[in-house]
């Protein structure tokens, strides 16, 4: 299968990120491309940590009554796994893609606030390191990534782990808010001539809308974190019931942030899918306006669904029914997206590069995760399944089935732009198939475990019928996941040196980032054409073909 026109090895070696610039250059950089790469690399490093924690848990749970980890350590590990994957892996991965690509897609050479951009990255990284430092400083946090009060209060969690947790999430939250501000301003002020907001690539649109979600949701979390810190360090009583505080207030504050956070991690994934699927189907995105509009609908609705995390708390039928209704409604704009992506593939000419394979797998896996989520909006079903392994299945089908899979699609799709070389497709396909089997094998059986009555966040479980065998099954497939990630990471390094040179536009894509060199020079664009449609590079190609321009066959390079 031919993915691109063959391009001879360059006479001049491609710019090498290590040799070219030196460490100091990276540390002091305010270039959005370098910062984007640093986000993506930190995300990868934290991913290795978070995944190792997951493996420790899978080994412990392989059989009932295993004692590899003490209860105390297991609780630290599952807390760190959740916190790492959400705040240190998925968030920076998506911000990394956005930081790298958003300016390129709108024809800008920089973000609106380059220094804020660097600040956002470094404060996030510092927060992440601080979180891991807690292991050395008297114990990692052990109260879950949701840190429910009053368990997270001083009288029940005496170790400093929760303080480290709150401070580092606060730092990362500030970084994320900074990045969101930057995306909003950049999108509003730095678009190239002719690129109205109705012509921006859907990636840009979704990151733009998503940034408002971040700007509204993270401050609530930050306020909550400051309150729990005041409780813990200055002996206040915001969340301690015994002294007149309210344990439920923490739940409200956390989920007012926490549920939008799910969409904060999902919308950029949708953004990636909205770029990859049309390019490899050779068709424009189907229903651009509906995908764009449904993004806004999701954003608005996501602020009215938080209490579906609290159906078992006992807040009354009317309250529960309201949040059941809103949580069901949010399925509609999400469904619209799925069907539009499917319609984009319909009657296309689909090229199954690894990026496209992942994007297509996303459609199926995310449909499973999304629908099991609608199941939780049916309050009585939630009363049976909440806080069971069914939720663990659901959350992984969303965060892996949507966010991580789309992240992989994005890596295969944009790696040529970032490094100048194409990731090995052969290794990519090994990665893909091992991943699909490993992922579904590991996580699908969790649905059954939840129905059988296995609560989540347990360091072991009684030897009830099927518990041992289903857990062992899951652990077995997680080994396949290790193999898949090893192939992926090997591919990243292997293709950096050995990959096929990419040229400017290896996938015949249509958005402006493919107009730059691969990798782009420090100043990405010297000249950008006036944008006349949603697919500027296609316009250039058409004008070439109709002979209006004197550009030759590869003449996009001139534009």
């Amino acid at each position: 299968m031919r993915l691109s026109a063959s391009i001879p090895e360059p006479n001049v070696p491609l710019p090498n990120i290590l040799r070219n610039n030196g460490l100091l250059y990276w540390i002091s950089s305010v270039d959005h491309k370098q910062i984007g790469i640093m986000y993506l690399c930190s995300s990868l490093i934290f991913f290795v940590l978070g995944f190792s924690e997951a493996l420790l848990m899978r080994i412990q749970l392989a059989q009932p009554g295993m004692t590899l980890l003490s209860p105390e350590l297991y609780n630290q590990i599952f807390t760190m796994h959740g916190t790492t994957m959400i705040f240190l892996v998925l968030t920076p991965m998506l911000i990394g893609f956005s930081t790298y690509l958003l300016p390129l897609m709108i024809g800008a050479n920089e973000m609106a606030f380059p220094r804020l951009n660097a600040f956002s990255f470094w404060i996030f990284l510092f927060g992440g390191i601080l979180l891991y430092f807690s292991f050395l400083a008297g114990g990692a946090p052990n109260v879950g990534w949701f840190s429910y009060a009053p368990l997270s209060e001083k009288n029940y969690s005496f170790s400093p782990g929760v303080d480290y947790w709150a401070i580092s999430i606060l730092l990362m939250g500030i970084g994320t808010i900074g990045a969101a501000l930057n995306f909003v301003t950049t999108t509003l002020t730095m678009r190239v001539a002719g690129m109205s907001l109705t012509r921006v690539p859907l990636f840009v649109w979704m990151i733009f809308v998503n940034s408002f979600l971040i700007l509204a949701a993270f401050p609530v979390l930050n306020a909550g974190l400051v309150m729990i810190l005041i409780d813990r360090l200055l002996h206040a009583h915001f969340f301690t019931t015994a002294s007149g505080g309210s344990a439920l207030m923490w739940q409200h504050m956390f989920w007012v942030f926490g549920h939008p956070e799910v969409y904060i991690l999902a919308l950029p994934a949708f953004a990636i899918a909205s770029e990859v699927i049309p390019v490899f189907s050779r068709k424009p995105i189907f229903g651009y306006e509906f995908i764009a509009g449904s993004t806004v609908a999701i954003t608005l609705l996501s602020f009215g669904v938080w209490a579906h995390h609290m159906f078992a708390v006992g807040l009354g039928t009317t309250f529960n029914a309201f949040f059941a209704a809103t949580s069901m409604l949010i399925a509609i704009p999400t469904g619209i997206k799925i069907f539009n992506w499917l319609a984009t593939m319909w009657r296309g000419s689909i090229l199954f590069s690894t990026a496209m394979l992942f994007a297509v797998a996303f459609l199926i896996e995310f449909t499973i995760g999304g629908l099991s989520g609608v199941g939780f909006a049916l309050v009585p079903v939630d009363w049976r399944l909440t806080d069971s392994y069914f939720v663990v299945a659901h959350i992984h089908y969303v965060f892996i089935g949507a966010t991580l899979i789309c992240g992989f699609a994005g890596v295969y799709y944009w790696y040529p732009k970032i490094t100048g070389r194409i990731l090995s497709e052969k290794l990519g396909k090994w990665h893909f198939w091992l991943f699909i089997f490993g992922f579904n094998g590991t996580f699908f059986v969790f649905h059954f475990l939840g129905l059988l009555g296995m609560p989540r966040r347990v360091f072991t479980y009684p030897d009830l019928p099927y518990f041992g065998s289903l857990n062992l099954f899951s652990t077995f497939w997680s080994v396949v996941l290790i193999l898949s990630f090893m192939v992926f990471i090997y591919n990243l390094f292997y293709s950096l040196k050995q990959g096929k040179p990419a040229g400017r536009n290896p996938w015949n894509a249509w958005s402006l980032e493919w107009l730059t060199n691969s990798p782009p020079d420090l100043k990405s664009f010297t000249e950008v054409p006036v944008v006349q449609s949603r697919r500027p590079l296609r316009d250039i190609r058409d004008s070439v073909q109709s002979g209006i321009s004197a550009l030759n066959e590869t003449g996009v390079e001139h534009a």
Partner: protein, 319 residues
């Protein structure tokens, strides 16, 4: 072949075991939703796989028609899901009302106070206090009041219906009924600290007569030991710090910071369902509590062998 079908059937019936109308309502709603959800997954997956094969570039090398959208289709896949959701919203509210029947003005039959990491179970009308093992008469709808003494916990017995959070500072109410006699296993389902995994529940549903017999026994004060070893154990219980947390009715021990031991020997398990109640397990626990259940509030009393014999003898006689 038949063998595998039987296995699969057994597996699926294990997934959806129900022993109460509540649990059946929930299962019913779950089946209906799963059927629709599976259909949707099949439509999406079918569409994806069909286009992946039918429209692959190898067979369709030409640039396809550049369609940008279709309003009718958009309306279709907005309206159909909407109608489906309206239908499920109706079913949801109906099931909610069915499960949460009004309880206003009614006194709870059972009060459950969740602790780190055990359940204090009381029958206010019957003046019974026990722990971790709830006895109920079959086919009687009882009202439970669920609260917490420390952090948030959640009462969950899948076969008997909904889970209910135990939130400090709140009283939650929930109905419990079992329509078959039997033992139903549940667990705490909200993460509540180190030993969350070993905060299990045993519900024993029994016939009216058996339940009354059990209740009558539980209402009595603890037996006074007759044999000299057990009497020494009773003295130890008061003199060592046991009595400052555990209550034994009929003695000076009245604290309810830890499980009531008045009829300990009538229970099947210790440590909130972690271990079966046997002489060996009891000794093991008294000897090395922090090794068996780290972080539990039980201290190690460094009992001598004689003390151990006396104390276990006493506790095992508390029928």
């Amino acid at each position: 072949m038949q063998y595998f079908w039987d296995k699969i059937e057994r597996f699926f019936s294990a997934l959806f075991q129900a022993a109460s109308p509540q649990a059946e309502d929930i299962n019913h709603l779950f089946y209906q939703f799963t059927i629709v959800a599976t259909l949707i997954v099949l439509i999406v997956a079918g569409g994806v796989i069909y286009s992946a094969i039918r429209y692959r570039a190898k067979k369709n090398p030409e640039e396809p028609a550049q369609t940008h959208g279709n309003l009718k289709l958009e309306i279709t896949w907005t309206v159909i899901p909407f109608l489906l959701l309206v239908f499920f919203f109706y079913l949801t509210v109906k099931a909610m009302k069915e499960i949460n029947q009004p309880y206003a003005g009614k006194k709870p039959d059972i009060v459950i106070i969740a602790h780190q990491w055990w359940w204090d179970i009381r029958y206010p009308g019957k003046k019974i206090i026990t722990a971790n093992e709830l006895h109920i008469p079959v086919n009687q709808k009882l009202l439970m009041e669920i609260e917490s003494a420390d952090v948030i916990h959640s009462w969950w017995v899948p076969e008997l219906g909904r889970k209910t959070d135990a939130v400090p500072g709140r009283q939650n109410y929930s109905w419990i009924v079992a329509d078959k006699a039997g033992v139903y296993k549940g667990k705490c389902s909200e993460y509540c600290g180190t030993q969350h995994a070993w905060m299990l529940i045993r519900v024993v549903a029994q016939t009216e007569e058996e339940f009354e017999k059990w209740a009558g026994q539980q209402q009595k004060a603890a037996v006074t030991p007759t044999d000299s070893v057990a009497r020494a154990g009773a003295r130890l219980f008061q003199h060592k710090a046991c009595a400052s947390c555990h209550a034994i009715r009929g003695t000076a021990a009245i604290s309810h910071m830890a499980p009531d031991l008045t009829h300990l020997a009538s229970r099947k398990t210790i440590l909130s369902g972690m271990l079966p109640l046997t002489d060996a397990n009891l000794r093991h626990w008294l000897q090395k509590p922090q090794k068996i259940k780290p972080d539990a509030n039980m201290p190690d009393f460094m009992l001598s062998p004689q003390e151990m014999n006396a104390l276990t003898k006493y506790l095992e006689e508390l029928q």
